[in-house]
């Protein structure tokens, strides 16, 4: 096993594309090291991307936010502008692991680990976040929900690296929220989770909505039929009931030690209602 710490993205892409044997990217390492210790992955080369300056920054520009692939989740929480614009995204990022882990872990790592229960991914999907991907063939920008294709599997081609996550500039009257269910309050993995992102018109009617569920299927789900129910509503009781039904119906969860299919379906609906109300309140305040 070799360890390499390139100082430019071009070098990192080159190393990844030309590596003989298995290459692994190291950012925070909170998933990679656990997978190595468990014997799930034995990389021949570890490419540490933390020395690449551009990947360690959060940039706010006219289009929104560019969050570098090596930015730790704790740093997202320290960024006031990001917290105000995308509170749901920050909420998800700050539920990963412990405070110690949050000092290291990244949302790009959380996304590429491709766990259906990843805490930051439902909020990113609801936010309509995009990933800026760099590879041997050049750059491309793709929707976050197209990246995980199954537990532990992504759609990235060999040699590709996610350079940054892009979040749009926040429109007026917009809000997002994320919640998960866990038996204990800390240091646990989501049994099921939900994120909602809303934009309202001046009358407080929902104009745009996105709804995402976590740990409810092999990948994080974007539930368009649930979003359609919220559009045109003021997130009243009737809309919330139909939202819950649509979310429960969209779930394709598994039975495991952390929850049954029946439980996950029910709780997905309950959480969707709760986060829809929080997102609606947040949107109304802006």
């Amino acid at each position: 096993m070799r360890y390499i710490r390139p100082s430019s993205l071009e070098d990192a892409v080159g190393l990844l594309a030309n590596a003989s044997g298995k290459a692994a990217i190291l950012a925070g390492g909170s998933d990679l090291l656990v997978r190595m210790k468990g014997g799930f992955i034995e990389p021949d080369v570890i490419i540490d991307i933390k020395a690449i300056d551009a990947l360690g920054r959060i940039i706010e520009n006219d289009d929104g936010f560019v969050i570098g692939a090596a930015v730790p989740c704790a740093v997202l929480g320290e960024n006031t502008a990001l917290r105000n614009a995308w509170p749901g995204v920050v909420e998800g990022a700050r539920l990963i692991g412990s405070k110690q882990v949050q000092g290291r872990c990244t949302i790009v790592g959380n996304l590429c680990n491709a766990s259906p229960a990843a805490d930051s991914v439902p909020a990113l999907v609801a936010a309509g976040a995009r990933a800026l991907v760099r590879g041997p063939a050049g750059s491309r920008t793709i929707a976050v929900e197209t990246i995980p294709v199954g537990p532990g599997k992504t759609s990235l081609a060999p040699g590709e690296i996610i350079e940054a996550i892009l979040l749009d500039k926040r429109q007026r009257h917009s809000g997002d929220a994320y919640q998960r269910f866990t038996p204990r309050t800390e240091m646990d993995i989501a049994v099921v989770s939900a994120a909602v992102n809303l934009t309202l018109n001046d009358q407080g009617v929902v104009e745009k909505a996105r709804v995402a569920l976590g740990a409810a299927a092999p990948t994080v789900l974007l539930v368009e039929e649930a979003a359609d129910i919220l559009v045109g509503s003021r997130v009243d009781d009737g809309a919330l009931e139909r939202l819950a039904e649509a979310c429960s119906a969209a779930c394709r969860p598994i039975d495991d030690k952390r929850g049954t299919v029946e439980f996950r379906k029910k709780v997905a609906g309950v959480l969707a209602k709760r986060v829809a109300l929080t997102a609606y309140q947040r949107a109304g305040q802006k």
């Binding site: 096993m1 656990v34 210790k37 882990v101």
Partner: protein
């Protein structure tokens, strides 16, 4: 290690500071900071609990920030300054956090304690805790199987209060 093995698994040079003392080492790329501390340098104050980043027993300070040593590859720490529980105080002259833990009996078996103490110092450096609820939330990455949480929170509350009164006196 014999030469053939050495060729197959080359080591990397690493210079860093631990508890104020400079070290120049050769480490394997897969060696974690925790294994470096405990097995290679015999600094066994830092404990190995789960070895998966879930229990916080191995928490150390890297440039003043708390981190799980089990999830950190040593090779990534070129030039870093690490503080472990051995670098905080002595039995005669304890660090204020160590003193508060002793005074409040904030442990039973003591295995999680070095991690709890380093995590507390990290929490103080971050500066986000002001209430007991904040302490419970921000210390949630350090598990105590004896269940000494009440006394741990008492100890940290006292250190926070002392810091506040010290700051007021200075102003």
């Amino acid at each position: 290690m014999d030469t053939a093995l050495e060729d197959r698994f080359p080591t990397c040079p690493l210079s860093l500071t631990i508890n104020g003392k400079p070290y120049t080492l050769d480490v394997h790329p897969w060696t974690t900071l925790l294994d470096l501390l405990r097995s290679d340098l015999e600094l066994t104050g830092t404990k190995k609990g789960c070895d998966h980043g879930q229990c916080g027993a191995c928490t150390v300070l890297i440039e003043g920030q708390r981190m799980n040593a089990c999830l950190k590859l040593a090779v990534t720490l070129e030039g870093a300054a690490i503080t472990t529980v051995e670098g905080l105080g002595t039995p005669e002259e304890m660090h204020p956090v160590q003193k508060a833990f002793v005074e409040h009996d904030a442990f039973q078996c003591g295995y999680c304690t070095p991690g709890q103490i380093c995590s507390t110092i990290g929490l103080l450096n971050e500066g986000h805790a002001s209430t007991r609820e904040d302490i419970r939330e921000l210390m949630s990455g350090n598990l105590c199987r004896c269940g000494a949480y009440t006394n741990i929170a008492d100890a940290i509350e006292e250190v926070l209060a002392d810091r506040a009164s010290y700051r007021e006196a200075a102003e």
